[in-house]
C-alpha cells in the first residue's frame, strides 16, 4: 500500500473547493446568510440576540456542513475516481478520512474563523471568549463533517440525496451540538463541556472513517 491514493484524494478535495467560481467563499456565504436571517425572524432585542447567538451559529454550522457535504462522495462515485482509488488497494477508510478532512479544512474551518465577527453582530462582548468559541466551533465542526460524511457516503449513489443526508445525520449531530452549546454557556457543567466536546469529536474521528469506508465500498459496487 502506498500513500499516493490517499494524498490524491486529499489534494483533489482541496482542488474541488476552488472549482465552480466562488470556491471556498460559498460555504462562508451560506453560513453567514443563515445566521443573519435569524434576527429578522426573532427580533433585534440585544439581550435576546446575545443569549441565542452562539446557538444560532451552531445550527448554521450544522446546516452548512449538510449543504456542502451532499456532493463530496457522489462526484467520485460517478466519474470513477472512487473505483481507481479502491483498485490501488488503499484502505477506503483512509481515503474517506482524507477527503473529509480536506473538506473540513476548506468548508468548515473558515466558518469557525468567521464566527467571532458574527458573534459580535449578535452583541457579544469583545474578549477572550470569542477566541475560545472559535476553537469550539472548529472542533465541533470537525465532528459535524465526519458524521455528515458518513451519511454522505451512505447516500453517495442516491440521486438528490440532500434531504436523506440531513435526516440521517441529524441524530448523529446531537451530542456535538449539546456539548458545544454547554461549553459556551455559564451553567455548572460548562467547565467540563469542552472536554466532552473534544471527546465526542475524537470518537467521531475514530469511528466515522470506518463507516465511511464501508459505505464507499458499497457505492463502488
Amino acid at each position: 500500500m502506498t500513500p499516493a491514493p490517499i494524498l490524491s484524494a486529499f489534494r483533489q478535495a482541496l482542488g474541488e473547493a476552488w472549482a465552480g467560481g466562488a470556491g471556498a467563499l460559498l460555504p462562508v456565504g451560506f453560513f453567514a446568510g443563515a445566521a443573519v436571517l435569524v434576527p429578522l425572524g426573532v427580533g433585534t432585542d440585544p439581550e435576546t440576540l446575545r443569549t441565542i447567538g452562539p446557538g444560532i451559529l451552531w445550527v448554521s454550522l450544522a446546516l452548512s456542513s449538510l449543504v456542502t457535504l451532499e456532493r463530496i462522495f457522489q462526484a467520485d462515485a460517478e466519474d470513477g475516481s472512487l473505483d481507481l482509488w479502491l483498485q490501488t488497494g488503499a484502505p477506503a477508510a483512509s481515503i474517506a478520512a482524507a477527503k473529509t478532512l480536506a473538506h473540513w479544512l476548506t468548508a468548515g474551518l473558515p466558518l469557525a474563523l468567521l464566527s467571532p465577527f458574527l458573534l459580535l453582530m449578535f452583541q457579544a462582548q469583545i474578549g477572550g471568549a470569542l477566541l475560545e468559541n472559535m476553537l469550539y466551533y472548529a472542533f465541533g465542526g470537525l465532528a459535524f463533517y465526519f458524521w455528515g460524511g458518513v451519511s454522505a457516503a451512505l447516500a453517495a449513489t442516491v440521486r438528490r440525496g440532500g434531504l436523506l443526508i440531513s435526516l440521517i445525520a441529524l441524530p448523529l449531530y446531537v451530542p456535538t451540538a449539546i456539548f458545544g452549546a454547554l461549553a459556551m454557556g455559564d451553567g455548572p457543567s460548562s467547565a467540563a463541556a469542552p472536554l466532552f466536546l473534544a471527546a465526542s469529536t475524537l470518537f467521531a474521528l475514530a469511528v466515522a472513517p470506518f463507516a465511511m469506508g464501508a459505505a464507499l465500498r458499497l457505492a463502488a459496487d
Binding site: 447516500a155 449513489t157 436523506l164 466515522a208 463507516a211 458499497l218
Partner: protein, 243 residues
C-alpha cells in the same frame, strides 16, 4: 445457532405456528392489562388522576422503542458479519414497527404530560429527547433503505447506518442527560419505578409482555411477507427466462 435460524424455510415453518400463537397470547395479555389498567386499579392523583392510566400503553411503548432499536442493530450486525439473509429481513421488518411504537410512546407521553406537567413537550426532559432522536434514527434508516436501488445495497447501507446509530445512542443519551441536568424543572415528576405499588406493577408487566409478543408476531408476519415476495419475484424471473 445463527446458521440454524438463518434458513428461510426453517423460519417459515417455525413462524407459521409461532406467529398465530403470539398474536393470541398478545391479545389476551393486552386485554387483561388494559382491563386492569383502565377499570380495576385505583387512580393515582399524584400522577394526574385518571390520565395516569395511559401508563399501561406508554411504558410498554417506551420499552419497545428501546428494545426494537437494539434488535435492529443486532440483526444488522449479524447480517453484516455472516450475511444471513433472514437477519436482514428481520432488521427491515423491525424498522417501521419500531418507529410506530416510538411514535406511540411520544404521543402517549405528550397526552399524559399535558394535564400532569402542564405541557405537551418538555425540552429539558432527557427521556423525551432521547426517544425523539431514536425516532429520527428509525426514520433515517427507513428512508435510506427505500432510496437504494437494489436489495443488497439496501441491506448493506442499512446495516452500516444501524450500527453507527447504535454506537451513537449511548453518546446521545449521555449528552442529553448532561443537557437536561442543567435546568431540571421541579414540575417534572420523574420516575414512578421503585416506589410503584404492586397493584400497578402487575398490569404494567403483563401489558409490556403483551405488547412485546404483539411486536414479535408483527415482525414475523412482515418477515414472512418479505420472504414470499422474494420467492414470487424469483418464480416470476424464472418464468420470464423460460427455465
Amino acid at each position: 445457532m445463527f446458521s440454524w435460524f438463518a434458513n428461510p424455510h426453517r423460519f417459515l415453518m417455525l413462524s407459521s405456528w409461532l406467529a398465530p400463537l403470539f398474536y393470541a397470547a398478545a391479545a389476551l395479555l393486552i386485554a387483561w392489562g388494559l382491563w386492569q389498567g383502565l377499570w380495576m386499579v385505583p387512580k393515582d392523583d399524584y400522577q394526574g388522576g385518571d390520565i395516569m392510566r395511559v401508563m399501561f400503553i406508554h411504558v410498554p411503548a417506551a420499552w419497545l422503542a428501546m428494545a426494537s432499536y437494539l434488535g435492529m442493530a443486532v440483526m444488522s450486525f449479524v447480517w453484516f458479519i455472516w450475511r444471513h439473509e433472514v437477519a436482514d429481513i428481520a432488521a427491515k421488518a423491525i424498522a417501521p414497527l419500531g418507529a410506530t411504537w416510538t411514535a406511540l410512546c411520544l404521543a402517549t407521553g405528550a397526552i399524559w404530560g399535558k394535564p400532569t406537567w402542564g405541557t405537551w413537550w418538555q425540552w429539558d426532559d432527557a427521556r423525551m429527547m432521547s426517544v425523539l432522536f431514536m425516532f429520527f434514527l428509525f426514520l433515517g434508516y427507513i428512508a435510506l433503505r427505500a432510496a437504494m436501488d437494489t436489495r443488497q445495497k439496501a441491506a448493506r447501507a442499512g446495516a452500516i447506518l444501524a450500527m453507527v446509530g447504535a454506537l451513537n445512542v449511548p453518546l446521545i443519551k449521555f449528552s442529553v442527560d448532561l443537557f437536561t441536568s442543567l435546568h431540571q424543572d421541579a414540575s417534572v415528576i420523574t420516575t414512578e419505578g421503585p416506589k410503584m405499588a404492586a397493584v400497578y406493577l402487575w398490569p404494567l408487566l403483563i401489558s409490556s409482555v403483551g405488547h412485546s409478543l404483539l411486536f414479535a408476531a408483527l415482525v414475523m408476519t412482515l418477515m414472512r411477507a418479505e420472504i414470499w415476495t422474494r420467492r414470487a419475484a424469483q418464480s416470476r424471473a424464472r418464468l420470464m427466462t423460460g427455465d
